[in-house]
Amino acid sequence: MLDIAVAYNRYKFLGNEFLTWLWFMIETDQSSFRQHDPDLVSLTVGNRLVLENTHNNAKETVTIKGDNASLEEGLVALTKGATVTEIHLSYKTGAQTWKFSLKGESLNISNLKLPETGPVETPDDIEGVVLEKVYLIEKLIGLVNNLFSHFIHLRVSDTWQNQTMSKIKKWATSN
């Protein structure tokens, strides 16, 4: 077992590659996500995308913000070798929407806005609302875990080197 701090720093690139792959999949093959969550209606990039390029010991960061921001600059950064370090996502199932950010290096979830839950008007309401929120969080974490698990199986396979990387490159340059 690797030391935790060493493992965090040495493999944080995996989280950034995961987010890069996720963006590529969102744009090119979103329907395949339904195998990980049959309730999924859509998973879209929200209002923030951060990319970083650390090529040749220099760090370049591209941040795209705004509800309807064009992601072209991000695609250009990808073609230069950048990876996504943070992504804001919107996940929809039927009438429910989750909005949240994922950080590549930690896989931490931040800025999470859950679908509407019942109001807490009396102390008796708390337990019901807690259970509802726990269910909604579990659903989101289940999706993230399943997507990451799919990615990591792909990443340790030959398919990543032989096919996926060239597909991502082709997608980034053709847009």
């Binding site: 990808l78 896989l107 969080i137 990543w160």
Partner: protein
């Protein structure tokens, strides 16, 4: 930002190992033993302990009130005294001026200045109330997972330390490597490949 907030941050953990005996009773004892003190220690700059989710300013775990359905929900509270630097500066200047006037000298030695600064900080710590910060957590014992509702480094470190002290169970933070290694169901062969992975670039 907690479980009932409109926006929340979550750090995910895997809980390794199992509790001996009754889960709820063991957790209750751990929470009670390491609860945040009800009476503030005037001299302490910070205190860290467990508190209850519903009444974070009056910790109460009686009747297993931390059990919600199949999960356990409680909170970490960190009470910290923050003395504004300008306040230290002001009291330090006043104290130095008084010492110079009392002794009739024109300057103080380095040791005297340090001793005055320590005294000022200690005096202010006694007078300033601690600011409480409450971070909720959900412990899903059945699946050995725990969600901590903060991404702050100091709060996460405090959680990891207090958790093992209270329940004798280590927490493994789930970041890319640990999630891949422990949660993705990789075979031994795939795990070997994972350990040898190096950063790739789409253009290479």
């Amino acid at each position: 930002m907690g479980l009932l907030s409109s926006r929340m941050s979550i750090t995910r953990y895997q809980v390794t190992g199992q509790l001996d005996g009754s889960v709820h009773e063991t957790v209750y004892q751990g929470l009670k033993q390491h609860a945040i003190p009800k009476i503030e220690d005037d001299g302490a700059e910070a205190s860290v302990g467990w508190t209850s989710f519903e009444t974070p300013y009056a910790p109460d775990f009686e009747g297993y009130s931390f059990v919600f359905g199949t999960d356990m929900v409680f909170a970490l509270r960190i009470d910290k005294k923050s003395i504004p630097p300008k306040l230290i500066q002001k009291h330090y200047a006043l104290y130095v001026a008084k010492r110079l006037a009392d002794t009739g000298r024109h300057y103080l030695s380095g040791n005297e200045k340090k001793s005055i600064k320590d005294h000022v900080v200690n005096t202010l710590v006694q007078r300033i109330p601690a600011t409480p910060n409450v971070y909720d957590l959900v412990w899903k014992y059945d699946t050995a997972s725990l969600w901590f509702f903060s991404n702050l480094k100091a709060a996460n470190e405090a959680l990891e330390t207090l958790f093992i002290k209270s329940f004798n169970l280590p927490l493994i933070r789930l970041f890319p490597y640990t999630t891949a290694d422990r949660m993705a169901g990789l075979s031994d062969k795939e795990r070997d490949v994972l350990r040898k992975l190096e950063k790739n670039r789409p253009e290479e």
